[in-house]
Each structure stands twice: as structure tokens, then as C-alpha cells.
């Protein structure tokens, strides 16, 4: 007994270190292996408050750029509206048009925390469950896609950024509809990698890459970026470097997309 006590006394520093380190490492491992979203909890609200305060200052420095983007988008939307009205005139034949149903619903949100310099980057936005956000909704901005919502609290949501090495999205070439998987390699916040495009497809630099719409998360045809480099590496598929159209360093306003027909589609495709 005395020996044990002496042993404990002699090595208490190491043993105590071991205990604390095991606790910390197991926290980290759980966090890495499982969806981080589960850990979004009360703590998120505390730090979200801080982040909101910080971003309310930093927003001022981006006002000019934000205004420019918003007015550009306004113009684009006005043009679309014109087109839609006109097409409605054309199709007005007194029948009930069951195809013309709203499929997506957009919610505007403000980015209150954002990072681009880690391997797993996340954003926090200022809309949550109360405003109808739920996990696994797509997030886009006027320039292109941003990420997917993960954890949702009452008033905030955390978004897995495209700049996260665990993020994958189904993407296609706009001109010929060949699709592949887009992911980030953790190196440059302006570039991502598109894989699985077969080698016989003709690809030119500058080709547009958009979302494929195969997952129920993003609608088809949301801009992702343009082809910057393409080469065939060992085998039958291209590895394409895509220059992202979204500038992740100056995100302020984003739209969260809820797919109103997601449940129906999931039921059909039978996965949970």
C-alpha cells in the first residue's frame, strides 16, 4: 500500500497528464469521427453572441462591396421575373398547371462567423430552427454555392463550408452534363477538385461547373466555378482543378435553400 502511494506520488505528474490528455484526445476523436453538428449546443450560443458582435463591426468595412453585389443580384432577379411573367402569359390556357409548383424556398441569412484557413472550415449564420432552418439544407450566395447546414439551434446554424475536407457535392459540366464529385483538398480557398469525369470527355479551360441536382440538397445549375486545369491521372478519370466563383473571404449575406419536396423524394429513393 505504501509502495503504491509512493509510486502515485512519484509519478503523479505523468499520471495526471495522462488522464487529462486521454479526456481531451477522446473529445477530439469523437468530434472528428462523428458529425460535429452533434456538439453544437449551449456553447454555440455563447460564442455566437461574440461572433455577432465582431461581425457587426466588420460588416461596415464591406458595405460598398455588399451593396454592389446586392444591386447586381436585384437586376438579375428583375430580369428573371420578366421572363417568368411572359412565360406565364404564354402558358395561360385555363388548365390547372400541376408542374408549376414551387419546389425550393429561400431564406436569407447573415454570416456571423467564417473561416477559410483550417482543414475543416465552418460558418455560423444568424438563422436557426425558429426561422425554419433544419440540418442538411444547401447554402448559396449570389456568386455560387457555400455549404450545407449541419447543426441548428434556436437562432443560429452552423454550416459545413465547401472548404472542408469532408465536404462532397455532386457537380457537372454545364455544357455537356457529365457529372462528378467536387471536394476540397485543403490547400487553397479559391480552388476545389472535381473528380470522376471520364477521360474521353472534351474539356476546355474556362468551362462552367454547376451543381448537378442529384442530391436533394442543391437545385440543379447553381454556379460552382470554372475549369482552371484538367489532367488525366493514372486511369480513366480527369482530375480537374476548379476555380471557385464564391469568394469565401468576403461572405456576408447567404441564402439557405429548403427543398419542399425533399421528403417525397427521399421516400422514393429510400434512403434515410
Amino acid at each position: 500500500m505504501r509502495n503504491l502511494l509512493r509510486f502515485l506520488y512519484k509519478y503523479y505528474f505523468f499520471l495526471f497528464f495522462l488522464i487529462l490528455e486521454v479526456i481531451a484526445v477522446s473529445m477530439g476523436i469523437q468530434y472528428s469521427l462523428y458529425q460535429r453538428a452533434r456538439f453544437v449546443s449551449a456553447t454555440e450560443n455563447i460564442s455566437a453572441f461574440f461572433n455577432e458582435t465582431i461581425s457587426s463591426f466588420s460588416d461596415y468595412f464591406q458595405l460598398v462591396e455588399t451593396n454592389r453585389k446586392l444591386s447586381l443580384e436585384n437586376t438579375r432577379l428583375k430580369n428573371q421575373l420578366q421572363r417568368v411573367y411572359r412565360s406565364d402569359d404564354l402558358f395561360f390556357i385555363g388548365e390547372q398547371d400541376t408542374l408549376h409548383r414551387q419546389k425550393y424556398f429561400f431564406t436569407s441569412a447573415r454570416v456571423i462567423n467564417n473561416s477559410v484557413n483550417r482543414m475543416h472550415n465552418y460558418l455560423t449564420i444568424d438563422k436557426g430552427r425558429k426561422q425554419g432552418i433544419s440540418p442538411e439544407m444547401g447554402v448559396i450566395c449570389p456568386e455560387g454555392i457555400v455549404g450545407i447546414t449541419a447543426g441548428v439551434t434556436k437562432n443560429f446554424s452552423s454550416v459545413i463550408s465547401l472548404l472542408n475536407i469532408n465536404f462532397h457535392v455532386s457537380a457537372k459540366l454545364k455544357k455537356n452534363d457529365y457529372f462528378g464529385t467536387l471536394s476540397w483538398d485543403g490547400q487553397d480557398y479559391r480552388r476545389a477538385i472535381l473528380n470522376d469525369i471520364p477521360y474521353h470527355v472534351s474539356i476546355e479551360l474556362g468551362d462552367t461547373v454547376v451543381t448537378s441536382g442529384f442530391s436533394a440538397i442543391f437545385p440543379e445549375g447553381i454556379m460552382i466555378g470554372t475549369v482552371e486545369k484538367a489532367k488525366v491521372v493514372n486511369g480513366n478519370f480527369y482530375t480537374i482543378v476548379v476555380k471557385l466563383s464564391t469568394d469565401f473571404k468576403c461572405l456576408v449575406y447567404v441564402d439557405v435553400i429548403s427543398n419542399l419536396q425533399k421528403k417525397e423524394r427521399k421516400k422514393l429513393e429510400n434512403y434515410d
Binding site: F17, E21, I23, S26, R36
Partner: protein
């Protein structure tokens, strides 16, 4: 004693604010990410008992984790670094030993000693943190590069902070 406790708490809060409000928003590149907050553990007095050192490290890392939305990474890295601290101090002990009741500061033991102390511990912390965050050795050299650049950045900030602390202290006394 009370004065010292109070000063350390103040120091902790200032470091935390600098880290969260300034450094975390300073997105220079994904290769240069400074973590100045570990200075709190590095600057503790020599006589700090082992258990207190580890508890403070755990606490500091945990608070950083809360703000960075990463659970366990900073805690584990900081605790590891705190465990290495007494060993490193013993390894680089100056010829006439450490003055009782002093703190490991640049103007007590000189630039060369301080650099050795800081570089070893910052490198341990950053290496563990970055490899743990990536959670694989898949991008081994990219991560190593990140570790080196970020550690250099942190060391630079620490040296800078030493001179500012030294100056203000002298000013208060004079």
C-alpha cells in the same frame, strides 16, 4: 501573491481577447495561423506545481476550443505542451540555474535561452494541433509546412509581446 494571481488572470483575459478578436479574424493564409494564447502557459512562474500547470493548460485549451468550435484539439495540444514544459526547462537550464520566484521571461535569461524555450514548446503544440486536426497523415508534408510557418508566426508574435511587456513594466516602475 494576490497581486500575482490578479495579474495572471488579467493576462489570461487579454491573451484570450487578442486571440479571439484579432488573430482568429486575421486570415492571412491557411498556412499561417498564429496561436498566441499558449503564451499564458509559457509565462507561468517556474515554481508552478505540476498539477496546477496541467489544470490551467486544460482550462486554457478548453476555452479556446469553445471559441474555435473545435472540441478537444486545443485542449489536448495545450495539455501536452504543459506536460513537456518542466522537462524542457530542465533541459535548457542556464549555468547558474533559475532565480527563485522569477518567470521565464526574455529579460531575465537572455534572448538565446528564451528562443530555445519558446521554439521547442510552440513547435510541440502546433505540430500536435495541426496533425490532430487533419486527423490523418495523408497530407503529411502540407501539414508539416503549415506547422512550421504557423509556429514561426507565433514565435514572432511572442517575441514581440515580450518587448512590449518589458517596456510597459519598466515604465511603471520608473
Amino acid at each position: 501573491m494576490i497581486n500575482r494571481l490578479f495579474r495572471n488572470i488579467l493576462f489570461f483575459i487579454i491573451l484570450l481577447l487578442v486571440q479571439v478578436l484579432i488573430l482568429d479574424n486575421l486570415q492571412i493564409s491557411s498556412y499561417a495561423v498564429p496561436f498566441l494564447y499558449i503564451l499564458f502557459i509559457l509565462m507561468l512562474p517556474f515554481e508552478t506545481p505540476g498539477w496546477l500547470l496541467l489544470i490551467l493548460a486544460f482550462f486554457t485549451g478548453f476555452v479556446m476550443d469553445l471559441f474555435q468550435h473545435t472540441y478537444g484539439f486545443h485542449t489536448a495540444a495545450t495539455v501536452l505542451m504543459a506536460w513537456f514544459r518542466p522537462g524542457v526547462l530542465k533541459l535548457i537550464i542556464p549555468q547558474d540555474g533559475y532565480v527563485p520566484n522569477s518567470e521565464p521571461r526574455i529579460h531575465h535569461y537572455g534572448f538565446a535561452w528564451f528562443m530555445k524555450y519558446i521554439v521547442i514548446l510552440v513547435f510541440i503544440h502546433h505540430a500536435f494541433l495541426f496533425y490532430f486536426e487533419v486527423f490523418s497523415f495523408h497530407h503529411f508534408f502540407t501539414t508539416l509546412f503549415r506547422v512550421i510557418i504557423s509556429a514561426l508566426f507565433t514565435v514572432f508574435l511572442i517575441i514581440l509581446s515580450q518587448f512590449s511587456v518589458h517596456k510597459s513594466k519598466g515604465f511603471a516602475r520608473g
